[in-house]
Symmetry: C2
């Protein structure tokens, strides 16, 4: 059945949201029009405004509608630590996990020569300049443990060598609470090879 051209278009448009298939899009469209037009109006307004105003922080390149994001502008973060991540979602994961009080630098992707994505496309010139300013003692390369993420980490480490900063990479191993049986072979090998003295305390 075709409900009507406009409702069909609405269902189709809703499918651009991640994880929304045809059935969910249908339910969402019905729900929008049947029950919560007020909430939908607000969504239209806010999403429109966000698309127009949200850009990159001039200092760390994370998403923000401000010139300089909250974290960069904060006086209560540790200026000696810089964590390089592929996306704002990764940054958010660190913030949600808590514990880290340094700064971030967001690449918005990784090096991918085949797709024509080079160092400038992910802001590596800006990263180099940022480190050259001084004050940073450690750069944590928190790109994804994928082929592209590893390659990007390697490229950055080569770029920053001789700048007098310590470079580090996230530890690999078993996920906390994970079961050995269900961990993939690659992770297991790395966890095994990276084994540490047992303190048993």
């Amino acid at each position: 059945m075709s409900f009507s051209p406009l409702i069909e278009r609405l269902m189709e448009s809703l499918r651009v949201l991640p994880g929304v298939g045809p059935k969910t899009a249908q339910r969402m469209a019905m729900h929008r029009l049947e029950r919560d037009r007020e909430g939908s109006r607000r969504l239209v307004e806010v999403l429109g405004e966000a698309l127009e105003r949200v850009g990159y922080c001039r200092r760390c390149r994370t998403l923000t509608e401000e010139e300089i994001c909250r974290i960069c502008a904060s006086g209560r973060r540790d200026d000696s630590l810089l964590c390089v991540v592929e996306s704002p979602a990764d940054q958010l994961a660190f913030e949600d996990a808590g514990g880290y009080r340094g700064h971030y630098f967001v690449l918005h992707g990784h090096l991918s020569p085949l797709d024509g994505i080079g160092p400038e496309d992910i802001g590596l010139d800006q990263l180099e300049a940022r480190v050259a300013e001084g004050g940073i003692q450690e750069v944590i390369l928190a790109t994804n443990p994928t082929v592209e993420g590893e390659a990007t980490a390697h490229y950055i480490s080569a770029q920053l060598v001789g700048q007098g900063v310590t470079l580090s990479r996230l530890a690999y191993g078993m996920p906390m609470g994970g079961e050995l049986e269900y961990v993939d072979g690659g992770t297991l090998s790395r966890a095994f090879n990276g084994r540490l003295p047992f303190r048993g305390d």
Copy 2:
């Protein structure tokens, strides 16, 4: 962490969508701003247009941006059958299941005296007038098999008694207390084909 006020507002706005919790809203907001601004612009545009233009079909009260919906305007539907449903989503479920070629009447709810929802609020005056026009031989009361749906079916049957139409109700085979919208097509078809005379007792 607060990303930025505007991004926080976007996440909050996305939560009006059904089935979207804080974590999904966060993922959606990131995805919108990171990867698919074009798709988001289209969503803003289409959702805005739909909110403005989509109303009720003048004949069957389903959602449509047209004066008269596609099904009511079609010359290829069986004019002697009228299926009364609680929502456009229910109507869509029937159309997706296939097999039914008659018309619909959409209540947009059910009788609920405690919430102040009476017969006129769900268009029962319009339904009565529609049946009084003549031509309809059978009215299928396809409200949900819930307490309110049953009560609404009873009310309608009392209202239409003496109008010379057969009243029927979907066959059970659907789980009691279940909602039509979420029943699979096969069950729905069987329930539809096995519909029984409505006794209203």
